[in-house]
Symmetry: C2
Subunit: 578 residues, 2 copies
């Protein structure tokens, strides 16, 4: 393509709220433009990269035996009401009425639609297993759209759904999708990890999130540098201490008796630490909650955070909220000074992080008082210990015992064993070999296609602009004519352009009548793998190459170019040129 007439509106300045590098670069390189908050147009270069990702996704999904189809974005409300999600989904689900007053949702995901379709079309075990997928536009009315394509309200997604007869069939479908995801993200040039994730309230079992490692990421990945363990913060577990039947207290240093101390206005962990000159690790945080209507006190190490997902699983609760002030007073305690000692009629859950703790500080359940020298074993002998805290950096890996690290990640995709949640609620069943009706066993598998585009840029850029992986670059080669009024340069450029195109390379030819500095800067910004400059040595048939990623620059004779390109792209965008 010739650049003069192409819509590639590069720009120097971007809005101040463009915090993410990918967001800034996609605006600056003219890949996208915002139409409304979280809603973007893809300009020609942005769409080309997006289409390259789609092609990779399609190839790998097809290779994994999945069948492509395409479902609508307008979903009748009845389907979402049947699954129960019309009410549960909240304001993220965009809703509208048609001219006859019938309610619709703009599809945020397609479990309802696909399950209802499969219910009507598949009735026999003979037609199972089957995995169906689509690449389609999704709508989620995010409370705070941001980071450009990383968190949008209208975005492109690949969603796949597997339908199996048995749990082991689901295992196979899941593994097949998992492996396809590994190939897809690898081909996109991404550094990523598949992390164990929480399956939430959906009732599934296994689930993995594929996370691109990037500082802008909104998710925390806990991973072990020594072994392959990785999980998101909701799911991650550290090494749990051995919980002995009875603690051997003989070889302990002498334990002091409980002391009630006046701590006027001192109620936060930080204040307590300063007041007593103690590490927060010696303070026990007591959190009063209401779990499905019943009060619960959770005890945590002062420097640890509660993991709500783990807590829900530990106590089998669906909804957990903070207990109201009234509720705290009814327990016989007081806000800001809650503690486990002396409380009656309330369930107490102790996190494993405080197992065996001595000489601890807790609230005294009356205003402005704390208890010192608490020995959990002595003072609260019947405590139940469970893992209900977020893993902290430096905790030990439960697999290999080395210290766990944290990283930030962008969620690229998600594989999920749904089980029978949707097939049961929507009535998708099959008759098995014996003629008995059973619910179909489902899995679902998503990739944020437009988010992948942003994540790739988030991992591939430098000060000057984008550093496209060869597989996704909108064009492989940027041909740049320094002076378009120079006949010699134009003639040589035209010859090179034609021969590269004939050889099957995608080439953008910068034939604009602009200052060379502008053109070189734009070229670095656009960031295609190889730049070929036709300048003042055109009369000698000499051209200049620049490899965008390595920055290597060198001269070549024009007639060497084709074989040079061949070796450059065959070696994955690294030449042997010295």
């Amino acid at each position: 393509m010739r650049q003069q007439r192409m819509l590639i509106p590069t720009q120097r300045d971007v809005p101040g709220d463009a915090e993410a590098a990918s967001h800034r670069l996609m605006l600056r390189a003219g890949l996208i433009r915002q139409l409304s908050s979280g809603i973007y147009s893809y300009l020609p270069l942005g769409l080309k990269a997006l289409q390259h990702i789609q092609a990779i996704v399609r190839e790998e999904m097809d290779a994994a035996g999945a069948q492509e189809m395409l479902m609508p974005a307008l979903h009748p409300a009845e389907l979402w009401k049947a699954s129960g999600r019309w009410d549960v989904y909240g304001p993220e689900l965009m809703r509208l009425e048609d001219r006859h007053g019938r309610e619709f949702a703009l599809g945020a995901t397609h479990e309802e639609v696909i399950t209802s379709l499969v219910k009507d079309e598949i009735h026999s075990y003979k037609k199972l297993p089957v995995t169906l997928y689509q690449i389609q536009t999704k709508y989620r009315d995010e409370r705070r759209p941001r980071f450009g394509l990383l968190r949008g309200r209208e975005f492109l997604m690949k969603d796949a759904y597997s339908f199996d007869r048995t749990d082991s069939g689901l295992d196979d479908s899941y593994t097949s999708m998992y492996n396809a995801y590994v190939r897809i993200f690898t081909r996109c040039g991404l550094k990523f990890r598949a992390v164990e994730a929480d399956s939430g309230a959906i009732g599934g079992t296994d689930t993995h999130e594929f996370m691109a490692l990037a500082d802008i990421g909104e998710d925390t990945i806990v991973h072990c540098p020594s072994c392959q363990y990785a999980a998101n913060l909701e799911k991650a577990v550290g090494r749990i201490p051995q919980l002995a039947e009875s603690l051997d207290t003989n070889n302990d240093s002498a334990v002091s008796e409980l002391v009630k101390t006046h701590t006027p206005g001192v109620s936060t962990i930080k204040q307590l630490g300063q007041f007593f000159k103690q590490s927060p690790a010696q303070i026990i945080k007591s959190i009063a909650l209401e779990a499905d209507g019943t009060p619960v006190i959770v005890l945590l190490r002062g420097d640890y955070e509660l993991n709500e997902v783990k807590l829900k699983q530990a106590i089998g609760a669906e909804n957990v909220t903070l207990l109201s002030e009234d509720g705290i007073l009814k327990l016989g305690s007081t806000p800001g000074f809650i503690g486990p000692i002396g409380l009656q009629n309330v369930k107490i859950i102790a996190d494993v992080s405080i197992y065996g703790m001595k000489n601890a500080i807790v609230g005294a359940n009356e205003p402005d008082y704390h208890l010192l020298h608490v020995d959990l074993h002595r003072d609260l002998p019947g405590l139940t210990f469970q893992d209900v805290h977020n893993v902290a950096e430096g905790e030990l890996c439960s697999h290999c015992g080395n210290e766990l690290s944290f990283a930030k990640g962008i969620e690229l995709g998600h594989v999920f064993k749904l089980g029978t949640k949707y097939s049961r609620s929507l009535g998708a069943t099959f008759s098995n070999e014996n003629g008995v009706t059973e619910p179909i066993i489902m899995g679902c598998y998503g990739i944020g296609v437009s988010r992948v585009l942003a994540a790739v840029i988030e991992q591939h850029y430098d000060e000057q602009g984008i550093l496209w992986p060869e597989t996704l670059a909108p064009f492989s080669i940027h041909l740049l004519t320094v002076h378009v009024h120079d006949e010699m340069q134009m003639k040589l450029s035209q010859d090179i352009y034609t021969s590269l195109q004939n050889a099957g390379y995608s080439v953008l030819w910068d034939d604009r009548d602009e200052r060379p500095g502008v053109k070189f800067n734009d070229s670095d910004l656009l960031g295609f793998p190889l730049r070929i400059t036709v300048g003042k040595k055109a009369n000698e048939q000499m051209i200049e190459c620049k490899e965008r990623r390595s920055g290597k620059q060198y001269e070549l004779m024009a007639n060497q170019l084709l074989s040079h390109c061949q070796s450059f792209f065959q070696s994955g965008g690294i030449s042997n040129h010295e």
Copy 2:
């Protein structure tokens, strides 16, 4: 692909409201399924055909120099308010509010979005002309969705927009798109005509609709079998009689005087014809209208229909409605018996079809009376004659004088010279060579991509099923194994399947354990160009071919198949086999 596990749910019966052949066949062949009225899912086979159309559209648009991009479906209301269409578009435009109460439209078309984008990105004549296109999902809340994909509420469209500096530039862009459309529809195997269409109130000049000829079509095409003239009914004109300055009445047969006749309860053209035993062509229909608030009487031949578009243009009105009963009485007339003679203070427009009419019948402007023996020239000497009727079949072609014919058509696409309507209302300007700011001159060009799919089937089917054009068939070859438990048949089928796939053919292999009758019927229904049956002569390496379109059937040795396929598909799906 192997058919056993593919989602191709063929069916015998379809809903009774599936009137269109394409609708019935797409349901029966398992190409689509309805999710809600006018909203469909594409199953794997339907999507493959749709993707083939998309690929053709893309190739021809790219070849015409258009650049692909992708815009959102969610449009902020402000843009549509700025263009004035938020109020004008009516209930067809689907609307919703986001979680913050901001109004959005679901894009029915993208003039506002693209114009606003170009306004921000293009400012100089140097960047013009440019044509941008997208293939994207559109939303129109049709009052009466029907005929499957022919009139849906969520559908796939290719929309392109050209931006030019001058009118002659627009002419070039328009011609380029027009020619691309001819290539696209030809490659899709469609019989179509480009017809002159009315440019409506948008204020453009040229516009053509591309119509597929099909009886189910909702549009009437007027065309001349002798020359190339074709127009839609709104736009079509027949030969206009010479309107002389004064009529020579000397050589007429003696004209009787006006007679007022009692016609009790006789008011329609049909009743009058029967009452007076006269042809409707001798009766003058008087239609009382209100044009932009002013009463108008239109006179038409009794058997002709008013063309509202022509009338609006003739009198320069924007809104034309029927005059109320009160309005008619105020004119001194009476409903059902309106006539032009004796009416004061009202503009009278006479259609050219009644020019020079003598001995005509008109209403007498009082209840139950008509006037006979009307001579327009004598009784209404100052009449203005204009073409405000729908052309009737058999009228003469204004180009060549032969009789015009009618046909029914499905609108496939539309090319339109918009001019500056949107660039002016949204402020999209450029500075010309002299630094003077001018509005950009626009054209818009649409193709109903999903409608093309239905139109193709509407033109290509028989009693047994679909007859796919080679360019669009979901698979080129249907390989059918008669008995899947016969090892010989399966072995030969597998060999053929592999060798055809290796040779680059797309093959669906019916490896289902079904009765042969079911498989042959399904194969005819799916309608791929070539069927290869592996049956009881597998032990002799003998197979059977059936050409779906011609119905030709013949046996072949398996080792002849590849060369046979090559000649079959090279000749466009017609073999020389005897």
